[in-house]
């Protein structure tokens, strides 16, 4: 039998039982639709995360911190000569920044300075985290702006505010905030608080004893996203240039600034961010930093963990989606077994006029494949439509909270083709039992059958 004949034969046989065929196919459509939605959601989440990382080039980021345990004179390894250890020990100060910038692959080096402050805009008051960021950072695309522009010099009295902070201030249109004045009330707190662990509790708004002084800045930009993969998953709400920050120090924040940059007797900056031109420099730069006695942090190290988490999520979504497929498979088996009983005599006739067992089997397999193919194509369409609707609804809800429009579902080509192929594969599996049963029909008995 020719391939074309098998296909034509299957369509015409299925067409004779339109209602039953369409109901069975509907089962497959729903199953594949659910699976496709689930998988495309998993894909979408993954794509959004990795795209954001890539867009902000977070994979090119290395954080450098002083290693408290390897202070001078305390060699961790007994046999290591002390001189070498001391000679290579560096402090995270401006000299370090200059030197590290000369290394191959290092595009930018900037201190990661953050301090809490009260932010006052119009009548609103919010507690937030201020990040000191040199103006030159703008060229590395670390900050994605929603409105306005980056400040142009390190001395300006202007700042960039995150749109989430603006929203907390009840500003719906980020553009309207550009050029407006904003007040920062700095806090003088115990310097012991400036370690990563305590910062989080400060941010949660717990009342702490502090004195405050206010500074006025002009908003020049509104940030949509910032690409700082620091040691803490804390988002900075406001970015100010270092010159302005230093002025603040002269007036009031002496102790704070000292804490970060008292170069003589202390440890320098608490952290330095390095921006590399390509991920391949991460390993050599990290090795060098560790040789210099620093601790490093790179998001790339986290990537395997992240990938594993995604894999689990995918497996979970797939398992949920498979429920529909299993039910649809039973539907196909049921339909095919019914069909064999109805066409019992026809199968006998086919055999009497020269159909082999293989021919009979293939006829039933092809019918299953037609159901699987139609189910796959329409299931993909259903999954896509449902996903688009959910995406629109989710985005319209989240837009109220100021989130940018995001595709929460992703339909890569392999998912589309895979859905149809999977549908056909499952249908083929569903056809195994019916096809074997059809091939076993004894023509002598079937021809006597009425």
């Amino acid at each position: 039998m020719r391939l074309r004949d098998y296909i034509e034969q299957s369509f015409s046989n299925l067409w004779k039982k339109k209602l039953r065929t369409s109901l069975t196919t509907c089962g497959v459509v729903i199953g594949i639709g659910a699976l496709v939605s689930m998988m495309s959601f998993g894909e979408g989440v993954q794509k959004n995360v990795t795209d954001t990382f890539r867009e902000l080039e977070l994979f090119n980021y290395v954080g450098v911190f002083p290693d408290a345990e390897s202070a001078p004179g305390e060699s961790p390894e007994e046999n290591q000569p002390d001189e070498r250890e001391v000679a290579q020990r560096r402090i995270l100060n401006d000299e370090f920044l200059e030197e590290v910038m000369k290394m191959e692959g290092v595009e930018a080096a900037f201190p990661e300075l953050r301090f809490p402050a009260q932010i006052k805009f119009k009548d609103k008051d919010e507690f937030g985290l201020i990040q000191v960021l040199p103006a030159q950072v703008r060229q590395f695309g670390l900050v994605k702006l929603r409105a306005g522009d980056f400040y142009t010099s390190d001395e300006e009295n202007s700042l960039i505010i995150s749109d989430s902070m603006l929203r907390r201030m009840d500003v719906k249109e980020p553009e309207t905030a550009i050029g407006e004045e904003i007040e920062l009330h700095t806090l003088t707190v115990d310097s012991a608080l400036f370690n990563p662990a305590s910062l989080a509790s400060v941010l949660q708004g717990e009342k702490l004893p502090f004195a405050q002084e206010s500074y006025t800045f002009t908003i020049v930009g509104v940030a949509e996203r910032t690409g700082f993969g620091g040691p803490m998953p804390i988002r900075s709400d406001v970015m100010i240039p270092p010159g302005a920050a230093e002025n603040m120090k002269k007036l009031l924040l002496t102790s704070l600034w000292d804490f970060f940059e008292s170069s003589e007797q202390n440890e320098g900056y608490s952290a330095v961010g390095l921006r590399l031109s390509a991920p391949r420099y991460i390993e050599p730069v990290k090795a060098k930093m560790e040789e210099w006695g620093f601790k490093t942090f790179a998001l790339v190290d986290q990537l395997t963990e992240i990938k594993r988490a995604f894999l689990f999520m995918d497996m979970f979504l797939f398992a949920v989606g498979m429920i529909g497929i299993v039910v649809a498979t039973l539907g196909i088996i049921n339909t095919m077994v019914m069909s064999i009983l109805e066409r019992y005599k026809e199968i006998g006739i086919m055999k009497a006029i020269g159909a082999s067992d293989g021919d009979v089997k293939k006829i039933f397999f092809f019918e299953c494949e037609v159901i699987g193919f139609l189910g796959g194509v329409f299931g993909l369409a259903l999954g896509w439509s449902v996903s688009m609707i959910i995406n629109q609804i989710a985005n319209s809800i989240l837009a109220g909270q100021g989130a940018p429009f995001t595709d929460y579902f992703s339909f890569p080509w392999w998912l589309c083709l895979g859905a149809i192929a999977f549908s056909m594969l499952v249908s083929l599996a569903a056809g195994i039992y019916p096809a074997i049963r059809a091939a076993r029909v004894d023509p002598v008995v079937a021809l006597r059958h009425d």
């Binding site: 074309r4 005599k345 006998g348 086919m350 020269g354 159909a355 082999s356 023509p443 021809l447």
Partner: protein
């Protein structure tokens, strides 16, 4: 054994076992049919006529004994080879016509060509030719429900001939037909036998009909050949 024989059977035996009971449907049947002959097989119900037909048609396999067609041992073929034998070497017609009710006359006649891998255009062309031969060309687009019993049996004959077999096996082809139509159908078979050299084996319990057209008539009873007579 006759060396010129087209079909030969040798001690052909078929035993059906249903649980503990064994039923001997056919016992030591040895026959020989030369090419171009019209053989009639008759006998009462349960004499083994249909069993003999199913064995000759390759639909069933014997418990013991041999069937040879053109000196080829049919009884030793595997399933796949038997399908090819049924497809190309024998055509069969039945008492209940056994045509597909959802197909038109043309589609029914062309059906065996589907399994032979013949392209659609050729299938239709050949089916039309054969329908013409049995006088049903004008009725080609009708479904079985719209055809008379005689017409349905003609569709079945056309289908049996579509792959140009040498042998036509007819299992009570007139059982569901009135006497006049019966006579016409057997007449058609006799003409095919006479004009095209088709070897016909026909089963019927109507001995008179066989005597009218067949060259030889074999009488079966309880699965055994009790008499072979040469009529013409």
């Amino acid at each position: 054994m006759d060396s010129t024989a087209l079909i030969e059977t040798e001690n052909l035996t078929k035993i059906y076992s249903t649980g503990k009971v064994e039923v001997v449907a056919l016992k030591d049947v040895s026959l020989s049919v030369s090419e171009g002959k019209f053989l009639g097989v008759t006998g009462p119900s349960g004499s083994g006529k249909s069993t003999l037909m199913n064995l000759l048609g390759g639909l069933d396999t014997p418990s013991s004994g041999k069937i040879k067609v053109e000196a080829r041992p049919i009884s030793e073929l595997n399933k796949e080879e038997l399908a090819l034998y049924r497809r190309f070497q024998v055509g069969m017609i039945f008492q209940s016509f056994n045509i597909v009710s959802s197909y038109t006359a043309l589609e029914n006649v062309a059906f065996p060509l589907l399994f032979a891998g013949v392209p659609k255009k050729q299938r239709e062309h050949r089916a039309k030719e054969v329908l013409e031969k049995v006088g049903l060309y004008p009725r080609r687009d009708h479904r079985p429900a719209e055809l008379s019993g005689g017409e349905q049996q003609r569709v079945a004959i056309a289908r049996a001939l579509i792959n140009r077999p040498k042998i036509l096996l007819a299992d009570e082809p007139t059982g569901n037909l009135d006497s006049q139509t019966s006579s016409q159908i057997v007449q058609t078979l006799a003409e095919l036998n006479r004009n095209q050299g088709l070897t016909v084996i026909m089963i019927s319990h109507e001995e008179s009909l066989l005597r009218q057209f067949a060259h030889d008539v074999v009488h079966l009873r309880d699965g055994e050949v009790i008499e072979q007579e040469n009529i013409r």
